[in-house]
């Protein structure tokens, strides 16, 4: 019960975050939202895991949950890496602006 509560809370936060991404025009938000919703349903109605597993051609419900968690993790990882890369680009432009504006002419 406690585990279900924490899992549901975590997936709910992911759903809210996915809505924010969708609102900002990121396609990853849709994929994240769908996966997090499926995961939440499985937590609430565990029996459905077996049905969904058969639908997706995966052996057991537990395996499906594992694959879903891995997929969610990879999406979040790529998303964070992309954000870091964008931040680095902004820092580079700022550093460049400062460096050129403080250029030292030949003595």
């Amino acid at each position: 019960m406690i585990v279900q509560f924490f899992l549901l809370a975590s997936f709910s936060l992911l759903i809210i975050y996915s809505l924010k991404l969708i609102n900002n025009g990121h396609i990853t938000g849709i994929i994240l939202g769908i996966l997090a919703t499926i995961a939440s349903v499985i937590v609430v109605v565990p029996e459905i895991a077996g049905v969904l597993a058969n639908l997706f051609g995966v052996g057991r419900g537990a395996d499906l949950l594992l694959y879903l968690s891995f997929a969610l993790g990879m999406i979040m990882f790529l998303h964070v890496i992309t954000k870091i890369h964008i931040q680095e680009k902004k820092i580079t432009e700022l550093v460049r602006f400062i460096a050129i504006s403080q250029a030292i002419k030949k003595k």
């Binding site: 890369h85 680009k89 820092i91 460049r96 050129i100 250029a103």
Partner: protein, 228 residues
Amino acid sequence: MNNYNNVWFVIPAYNESKVIEEVLKVVKNHFSDRIVVVDDCSTDNTATVSNKYCDVVKHPINLGQGAALQTGIDYALKCGAEIVVTFDSDGQHRIEDAIKMINLIKLDVPMVVCGSRFLGVDADNMPLKKAVTLRLATLFTRIVTKVNVTDAHNGLRVMNRMALERIRINQNRMAHATEIIRKVKTENIEYKEAPVKILYTSYSVAKGQKISNIINIVLDLIIGSVSK
């Protein structure tokens, strides 16, 4: 033959105070004051030594060679450069090779001329490990960019203003070499290679790229593609 009055040398440098003075003396003999050293936050006195010979632009934090090159290019274009030469600060490049490459550049089309150490001119003292690494890097660049390069990581390049306005280096570290070649293809920039001689010394070999850096370069290129 191109007019040298519109040529600027961009020399990225990181902790090269021991060798950069000799490099600058040679370049200055031919190109006077149209030189900029981009000091990538060195911890030695590279900037002070360089400033005796040329303009210096200093990054307040270390960003990498790719970032330093773009900073230098931006500065040179701002100063009116029509042709920019990227030249290493460790003494590996020869000025006569740069001059030959400058004379190959056309000004009426976007064009890049890259030096290649594998076009028949033997390098002095190139370690075998280095040769193997460079060949692998070149093969990788050919596959990724579909440009028939022979030396993907040669820092001696000559680019005209039209090409530089289409190439913007976003890769801060060593993946910039592949990025430049990729942009040559995607931006329809005329591309030529010229044989150059690289002078290897124990100093430059020690400072050079390690084979393990290939992993960083591949990862940087993947992240750069994903985050577009």
